[in-house]
């Protein structure tokens, strides 16, 4: 197993020490102290000393200066890391597909959009269930809603309203351009369809799939008629 070690000179050359230190830092993928690096040579007949390890690190620091990675000393030792300048490219390795928002979040957003200004308690009253703090946090962080005042009630609950960013995101000039239910279609028709959708959730082809978008607001209310709302 230690074939390399056996055929090697008792004392290691500067290149060999550099290569082992380099390989150790890269295999560990985290900071290593000089003591830890020294311990790798513990059973060597002529192990390098602390000074030689430092020299190897200095050499690596120098050699990586024009490369994609750099040697850094951190609180817990030395490590190799991606250069900051390359973050825009390397970050793409982890780019994720966006997830979808939950129905609860969409409903909360819809109530705020259509009933603003509105308190969280009022949203809960309309939805019939509690609104999680996470949902409010997400909507606030996305800057689609904000607190515009407080209702004069015990606890002085915040009043939520939609923002300029909300309008911009949906390409609306004002809330007036939000589609209305009346615009969508006759309420009875909706109810009938909701029932259908409930019984046949897989059926996606509605009769009005090809229908041109409704006028005004640029929204396409009901174009996706088969969507299951339940």
């Amino acid at each position: 197993m230690t074939e390399a070690a056996r055929t090697m000179d008792p004392s290691l050359s500067g290149e060999e020490i550099r290569n082992i230190v380099e390989a150790a830092l890269l295999a560990a993928g985290q900071s290593l102290t000089i003591d830890r690096l020294l311990s790798l040579f513990a059973d060597q007949p002529a192990p390098p000393d602390r000074q030689q390890i430092r020299a190897a690190l200095a050499r690596l620091e120098q050699e990586y200066r024009e490369r994609g990675i750099e040697l850094r000393e951190t609180g817990s030792g030395f490590r190799l890391q991606v250069r900051k300048e390359l973050a825009p490219w390397i970050g793409k390795l982890w780019e994720e597909r966006p997830q979808r928002y939950s129905r609860a979040l969409l409903e909360t957003l819809a109530i705020i959009a259509y009933r603003q200004p509105v308190t969280r308690g009022e949203i809960e009253e309309i939805r019939g269930v509690a609104v999680s703090s996470n949902i409010m946090k997400t909507l606030l962080e996305r800057e689609w809603i904000r607190v515009v005042g407080h209702r004069d009630l015990p606890g002085r609950p915040g009043l939520y309203a939609t923002t300029r960013q909300f309008l911009d995101h949906f390409n609306l000039k004002s809330l007036n351009e939000l589609p209305t239910l009346a615009e969508l279609r006759d309420p009875d028709e909706i109810s009938a369809e909701l029932e259908q959708a409930g019984s046949a959730p897989g059926d996606k082809t509605g009769p009005d799939e090809q229908q041109p978008p409704a006028a005004g607001g640029g929204a396409v209310p009901g174009a996706d008629s088969g969507r299951t709302l339940a």
Binding site: A27, A87, A113, P117, F170, V220
Partner: protein
């Protein structure tokens, strides 16, 4: 090197070294072996083919030159030993014993003249199987000798401290919001009472705008809340919004003297 034994360094079989010393050298001659050791000895074989290969190799024989009678006798002796020690002896060993016995008997029987050419040598199938097994046994050793991740090779990894952890935001369409709203209304059974009107929405929107525009710590002149560029309709909407806010106790309106300017202020400052 090709004996099946081995791997005395294999950690999951610590007793092998002992067996290697006693069993693997002595067993073939006087079949005595301590019962414990036999079990370990047998564990080192991967089955009847492996045992057979071992018996052949141990005598330095070519597979094509198996002295069937002798190998069969040795094999049977092992199987007898196994039966004494291990009742749960695998059936595969007995099947092989039967096969060997059959080959042996056929070789010993005189062959009737004339039909010998058609009949395959009874050893051929055994040789084929032994060869087939041995090549994969060798392949397994070769595979084990390949440089392997985590044993001989290690991934080179560096940290990426400047990684932007921001995730892309989910996409939402307007119609999704409308559908969500329709669903809420349907569920709340409030449908008939809450036809959403354009007018109502513009008032609600203006309510939000007025609330955001006025501060709690200072008064805003009433007239500043009416952008002139919106015309008459805009003024009406704003007025309705302010009245609605006053009605909901969200705004406070003051007038210092009759016919003097009106000022509005958000109510929340009062309690701070």
């Amino acid at each position: 090197m090709n004996t099946p034994e081995p791997r005395s360094e294999t950690p999951q079989r610590p007793r092998l070294a002992l067996v290697k010393g006693e069993a693997l050298t002595d067993l073939p001659r006087d079949l005595y072996i301590p019962p414990d050791a036999l079990e370990v000895f047998l564990d080192t074989f991967e089955g009847p083919l492996d045992l057979l290969l071992y018996l052949i190799k141990r005598q330095n024989l070519d597979i094509l030159d198996i002295p069937i009678a002798r190998i069969t006798d040795q094999y049977m002796e092992y199987v007898e030993l196994m039966k004494e020690v291990r009742l749960e002896l695998a059936g595969e060993y007995l099947v092989m014993a039967a096969m060997l016995a059959e080959i042996k008997s056929r070789l010993l029987l005189p062959r009737p003249a004339g039909e010998s050419d058609d009949e395959e040598d009874p050893r051929a199938e055994l040789v084929r199987r032994l060869q087939e097994y041995e090549r994969y046994k060798q392949a397994a050793e070769d595979l084990d000798a390949l440089p392997r991740m985590g044993r001989d090779l290690f991934h080179a990894v560096v940290q990426f401290p400047h990684r932007n952890t921001e995730r892309p935001q989910p996409e939402v369409s307007l119609e999704e919001i409308l559908h969500a709203f329709a669903e809420v209304l349907r569920r709340a059974d409030m449908y008939s009472h809450h036809h959403v009107q354009r007018e109502q929405l513009s008032v609600r929107e203006r309510m939000s705008q007025v609330l955001a525009a006025v501060g709690a710590d200072h008064f805003t002149p009433f007239t500043e809340l009416f952008p002139c560029e919106e015309g008459r309709a805009g003024v009406v909407v704003t007025l309705l919004a302010i009245l609605e806010l006053l009605r909901s106790s969200l705004l406070e309106m003051v007038q210092n003297e009759p016919y003097g300017p009106l000022y509005v202020k958000s109510m929340e400052g009062i309690h701070d």
